[in-house]
Symmetry: C2
Subunit: 451 residues, 2 copies
């Protein structure tokens, strides 16, 4: 049987196995879903074993457990370590979902559910590609799997886990499906990622909520102050104003700018798809440069004062924000994090107190395109999609990729099958069935080529 026909005759089962994982709401950001994390990890071990792993187990970490599995074909063969994550983003705002986030449905040739792409769908592409390779007799390398349960909260336990299990995780290359392609028509492999630094900010003014009539004008309002602090971080040219922020940023080279310009991109379509009349970003850079090779500053959440129905004339005691910067390779997230804290402390006016709590962070990453595993992946995707994939840098962050490089000394090939329209992290996340199966085919072909 060919790879294509094996996949064709097992389609329904592949989907059923994916759905059984999606139905477990493994939201790492929420305490209430703690029990779901173990349930989800255990379900993955069952799926991995039935897919051809020799062994699969749930291993404890200081946070959510890790799923580890392996199939060893020969001590002389190279080893691939497959990384994915079984945790998902919160599903809020729930009222915007057209169907239940944790009850997957197929509609218009797509799977709709939280995790349909990120990263249960992509994790399943890896596992079913692996199964197909075994069943078709193509597998010539050892395969290890490590699926973590804390990616969406910044992988706080994985670095320690890697340090403690260096021998177990020994491999020649890491294969990750957690990134996107340019489009269904323009397959691509990701050769660069942005880093991330994330903070929660708490501004405290008066010790209690005050009546805005009796105190307004005489006492600083912490929401007013928070808005000012946040507004000052970027300028009219979309640049970040924190002194020293750009020090380690390597400017985009003319060669890379030329390659980026070759990526098919229709700015009108892009604006239409997200429903905006105009784009805004750093002056002097194109949209594709801005969202992949340049840093950014986003307020991811803000809250304070009265936010209920009707109006309340209050001068609140506190205001909060969750903010992040995307970083580019060579910017160190720990350095940036400290720079940000020091900056806020320096510009905080005397009439409020500001607390900055650093959250997770991660370094950017660059993958060399002459890596044997990269070349195998390039050919494999080319076979499945009928077109050689482009090598592109992406704007997202997978902090653990640079940790793998530092701790395990292993390079990663980012073989992702996501698409922009899959709306990961948003309501109505989805995944195209056709891409899901082409992804499985790509992974199976990768194992035919990598030896």
């Amino acid at each position: 049987m060919s790879v294509k026909s094996y996949i064709e005759s097992n389609k329904d089962r592949f989907l059923e196995e994916l759905f059984s994982l999606i139905r477990i709401p493994s939201i790492s950001a929420k305490h209430e879903n703690k029990p779901d994390m173990l349930t989800c990890a255990q379900r993955w071990t069952e799926v991995l074993l039935s897919s051809g792993a020799d062994k699969a187990e749930v291993m404890p970490t200081k946070g959510n457990p890790v799923v580890y599995a392996e199939k060893m074909v020969s001590p002389n063969a190279p080893t691939v370590l497959v990384y994915a994550h079984y945790d998902v983003m919160p599903a809020e705002p729930l009222e915007l979902w057209k169907s239940e986030p944790f009850e997957p449905v197929i509609r218009d040739g797509r799977i709709w559910a939280r995790g349909a792409d990120d990263d249960k769908g992509q994790g399943m592409i890896q596992v079913k590609g692996f199964e197909t390779a075994i069943k078709e007799g193509l597998l010539q390398c050892n395969v290890k799997f490590i699926f973590e349960g804390e990616e969406e909260i910044g992988s706080p336990s994985l670095e320690d886990f890697c340090r403690e299990h260096k021998e177990l995780l020994k491999a020649d290359v890491i294969l990750v499906s957690d990134t996107s392609m340019v489009s269904a028509e323009t397959p691509s492999l990701t050769t660069g990622l942005r880093g991330l630094a994330y903070w929660e900010i708490e501004v405290t003014g008066p010790n209690r909520d005050l009546h805005s009539g009796h105190f307004g004008g005489a006492v600083a309002n912490p929401i007013n102050v928070l808005c000012k602090l946040m507004a000052d971080i970027t300028d009219v040219d979309g640049r970040i104003t924190i002194p020293g922020f750009y020090d380690d940023v390597e400017d985009v080279s003319p060669a890379e700018r030329e390659m980026i310009a070759q990526i098919p991109f229709d700015e009108e379509k892009y604006k239409k798809a997200i429903g905006v009349d105009a784009l805004f970003g750093e002056k002097g850079y194109s949209t594709l440069e801005r969202n992949s090779c340049r840093p950014s500053f986003d307020i991811c959440g803000i809250w304070g004062g009265y936010t209920g129905e009707g109006s309340k004339t209050v001068l609140p005691s506190k205001a909060y924000a969750k903010v992040s910067t995307r970083l580019v390779p060579h910017q160190d997230h720990a350095k940036i994090s400290q720079m940000f804290e020091e900056y806020i402390a320096r510009v905080t006016p005397p009439y409020v107190k500001v607390k900055v709590t650093p959250s997770h962070g991660g370094q950017g990453y660059v993958c060399p395109i002459d890596l044997p595993a990269y070349q195998a992946a390039e050919k494999a995707v080319g076979i499945a999609f009928g077109k050689k994939p482009l090598a592109v840098r992406r704007g997202g962050s997978i902090p653990i990729i640079s940790t793998f490089e530092q701790v395990l000394g292993i390079k990663t090939v980012l073989m992702g099958f996501g698409l922009e329209q899959n709306a990961i992290h948003s309501p109505n996340e989805s995944q195209e069935l056709d891409i899901f199966f082409k992804g499985i085919e790509s992974v199976a072909e990768f194992y035919r080529l990598y030896k």
Copy 2:
């Protein structure tokens, strides 16, 4: 029996009657409390009748009903119209209350509950002062009562109600207990109030929440934009930058500045009481000028993006704020409201859409101190508190006061007994028992003097 001894021997009953009203959570800002509004209005009619009113009834409006009551002593006597409101502010944040907001308790010589001061406590001062005056044979004028249920949401129905019932509400002066005194040691009457304009702002960026890694830097973030819009409304000198905003502001006169400087005020104590290290307000004005005679701009609430536990790297679709300006006499709230809307429309960048929804507003007010009722009130408070009250302008807004003047053609005397430490609109609202009873005495003495 004297006024003092009548009050002394009826203390417990007065408190019981107040508590029966406080226990009804008449929060006008919340739909869920709709049934409580009628219950509270009905309870007031019972209290008014048992306190000496000839008749008391609940009258419909297009919103929450109005309580109307009267005692007519003679067609030739002057008539006082007493205004109060039976609705209260929401009690959130609930976790900061030391006892239940709607279950009044007495602790440390104070009544603790939502509405203990604003305005159930002060409304009860009026009603029990009226009862005392009747029982002591002091009443020489007609008294009408109008208690509304929408003051905390801007009295949207009262203007129409006044227009429809001009004859019924005919009076020589309006008496209102809904303001504060300088302190327990420095009684005062309010002779000026600030106006108010209030808006809700909705900023829309992309049509859905986006992944901040894939889009950050290339697509404008509506929270970033909202912060910039808000930050730009005030400058480093604490002045409002909207062109034309100060056009109708009458500067504080040297005479008034001198009087304000005579109000006992300890800035260090003030800062300590609200827990701030420094104050901030408009350059060139003192704290007491800033919070009474000068306009202010406060963001009363802000929200958008991910505000739950943990971190979510999202570039949200929407961001919101509830904002208000306090206005001074001569500034027209409708004109300011339109000016604000036009300003925001003008400065909105092309990459977001901004919707400004005006909420309630009201004009400022000035009371002439040669009004006979003002002079009676001044003497009455002097008797009860043992000290002539100061005439001061306050920073809060009671928009209905200027509506009374425009629609009914009647001036208002603001005979309020609140204190800053009562924490109205905040958790742990309270009222001092001693002041509550001195207030009742003041009102009874007012009726002895006003004829």
